[in-house]
Every structure is written in C-alpha cells, then in structure tokens.
Symmetry: C2
C-alpha cells in the first residue's frame, strides 16, 4: 500500500523524500483555495512565484497578477487572496502570476516531487480520487503560517487521510495527529477553528465570508497540477487526446 | 496572562523567541523521563551533551555516562535510556554525562531561554506548578524524532496546557492542537499511542515496560532545571538557603 505522510510546515520539507512521490500542497486560508476556485472558473493557468518582485516582473510582461502578504492584498496587483475575486469574468482564459505569504512558496519548495498538486477542502474528494489513481506515496505539505504549524491545513490533511483510509498506509505520527484532529473537528470546522491563530487574524480583517467559503467541501472537481512552471487543471491521460 | 506555546520539533526552534521565556524540553520516550527518574533517585546532576564523542570525552574524565542512539544503548557507556536503570544505587550522588538521539540536543538548542527545565508525564504537575510560580511566557520544545513531529511529546504539551488552563493564554495553533489531542487521548495514553511511530519502534525493541512507565503521571516531584552546564533538581529561591 502506498504511504501517506504529512509535513506540517515548509520548514521541515528537507526531512522528507520528494522524488517518487506526489506532493499535495495545501494552504486553506487562502492560496490553494483561490487557485482551485480560479481554475474552476476558467482561469487557464497559474504561475506560482515566491516573491513580490517576481510577480511585479511578470506584471510588466502583461500577466494578470495576484499578491497577498499578511492576509491582505498587496498594492499594485490585480487580485488579492479572496476566492470571490477569482470567480469573476476577469480571470477567464488568463494566465495568472501569483504570490502569497505561505502557499506559493510551499509549491516552489515541492518541485522535486514527481507531481505537485494543490489541495483544498473545495476539491478534497477530487484530490483523493487523483491520488488513488496515481498509486504513489503521498506527502501533504502544509503551507502553515510563516514556517509554523497551523490548524486549518492540518485538518485538510486529516480529511484527506479519512478519504484515503484503506487505500493508503498512514501510521506515522503527523498523519495520525491530523486524522485525530479532523475526526474531532469534522462536524463543525468553522467552530473548531474559531480559536485558530490565522482564523482570528482573518476575522480581524473582516473576511469571515472567505473563511466560510474555503471550509466547504467538494464545491469543485478541478485538481490543479504543476506542469513545468504552471499550475493547470489535471486532465487524465485516458482522455488527454480528446480534450 | 503569560503565553504558552509549543514548538513541535527542534528544527523549528529558530522561529520562536527564547529570551525572556521558560523552555520546557520534553522527550517522553525516553530522555526527559529518565532524567526525571535519575534525579528523583539521587543522581546529583546531569550534563546533557549532543554527541557520542563529547560523552566519550567526559567518560575519560571519570563521569558516569549514558548514551542512546536509535532507541538502543550505545556501546561503551554505563547506561542506556531505560528509566529502570536510573533507579539503581549506581547513580546515587553521581554526575552523569548523557546523550540521546533527540532529547539532549533539544536541551542544548534551548539554552538561550531564561530557564530550561525537563518535563515528562512523570513530573507534569510539578512542572506546571513551577511554571505557574515563574509567571513567564513558556515554550514547550518537543524533542520529536530526528527532526519530525511526534505524538507522545505533543500529548505531554497538551497535558501541560490542560493543567495551566486559566493561568496561561494558549490560543496558538500548536498548543490548541496539542490540547485537543490530549483531550482525546487522556483516558488511555498507551492505547492512543499504540500506532505512533516511536512506540512501535520501541515495541519492536521489546521495551513495552519502559513505555508504560514513562506514560505514568506524577510519579515524581523533581523538576530538572538547567544551571550552567548541569541539569539539577530545582530548589525554590525561598528555601535555597535552608537546604
């Protein structure tokens, strides 16, 4: 049975094998949630970049840009990190250069993996289905908050563990902890997370609507997968010639 | 109210302030459990060292030595990492140079803190009482396993959070997660940990008796505190002149 493991923050990624594995990067609030939302609403591809400077550079070359720092939209970019702004006509058919405090950096650090996909509650069942077809060892890389552990990304890892139970082996401490926490939280994620640091940080920024949206499960079917420098919607090999 | 925070592995310690804080280092299986046991049984002081070479060097200078790597006693040293060997007459009045896979290293990394103490289930209430009298911010540093998160040290952090509830503020994600996990596990720590990686590793080494011992709460009252290079039993200022 393939293995499911969880890396609680990008700061620990050097302790894990990436080659031969599929990495699921998760940044529930809100990078990977917005990526999933954008690609589901017609965005063509996303270039995840680590720094504001890279994003500015790409803006000069005509790309649509999104930049968030410390929970707020950075000045001078087209989009911030609210999933609702990724539903607008503006994004359709476009390529978006995107940088966020934690999420896009985590994607860049995961590039040595066989595949890198973006996971969120919004597409959790599709991610689970994708992983089941791949039949490779999986590492969930939680974006965390500035290098530290966070609860919402951990709960996603736990939700994924619940869905993959029976098909993946996950008797390692990080995955067990994530699965236990999700078991306790699943009936009301919002209530469970109400004391979490980042949720409180975002509540102070008055974006409770964003949080509630990002905690919904299976709103979209798209699985963003990294191909070269771009995150694009995954298309199964079996139908690739037909689309 | 002072803050209680948890650092899940020594690999993340650079993300946390140490100055002005009390650090509680925890390595339930088994470094801090054996330290507590030894000092409770008459061991005078412990020199925690990071490497086997340092420990060998101190052996040449006549110190009693303890060394563990990968769960096993290292060759050529007096003691391993079983708490039962720390109850013997051999340790009485002695100074012990000690190195373990994770625990002693975590202590060395925490030295910049105002105080460093060793915590274990064996002395958890005494550690909580000590922290309450200090009234400083607290960071629990979990020794983890080779840089990764582990369950048993996290459960200790959760137990401490439960005991300090009301007197410390702990609305940060790591402490909340630890407290949630402990709430689910507290009725039967052994059962809860039965799938944990390090417990399985130790069970394969046939030291279930050690694990059961280390999961007992409040067997001892001693709080090992780092004074210079030595871990010694904490003696309150108020009675220091009398002992």
């Amino acid at each position: 049975m393939p293995l499911l493991d969880v890396c609680f923050t990008p700061e620990l990624i050097h302790l894990y094998a990436l080659k031969g594995r599929v990495v699921v990067v998760v940044d529930i609030l809100r990078a990977t949630s917005t990526m999933v939302t954008g690609l589901a609403h017609g965005l063509e591809k996303i270039i995840p970049v680590s720094t504001l400077a890279e994003c500015q550079q790409l803006a000069k070359h005509g790309y649509l840009t999104a930049a968030e720092r410390d929970g707020k939209k950075a000045d001078g970019f087209d989009l911030g990190n609210s999933p609702f702004s990724y539903m607008e006509d503006l994004v359709k058919g476009k390529t978006l250069a995107m940088t966020t405090t934690n999420g896009t950096h985590a994607i860049r650090l995961s590039e040595a993996a066989d595949q890198v996909v973006a996971g969120a509650f919004l597409n959790v069942s599709s991610v689970a289905a994708y992983l089941t077809t791949q039949q490779k060892d999986v590492l969930v890389v939680c974006a965390g908050w500035k290098g530290k552990f966070n609860l919402e990304d951990t709960l996603f890892a736990g939700a994924l563990a619940h869905k993959l139970q029976g098909n993946f082996e996950f008797e390692n401490d990080a995955t067990l902890a994530a699965a236990h926490l999700y078991a306790a939280a699943q009936n009301d994620l919002m209530e469970y997370l109400s004391k979490a640091s980042h949720v409180q940080r975002l509540q102070n920024l008055h974006i409770i609507k964003d949080i509630a949206f990002c905690l919904q499960q299976d709103v979209y079917e798209v699985v963003p997968v990294l191909e070269g420098n771009y995150l694009v919607p995954y298309i199964p090999e079996t139908i690739k010639n037909w689309v």
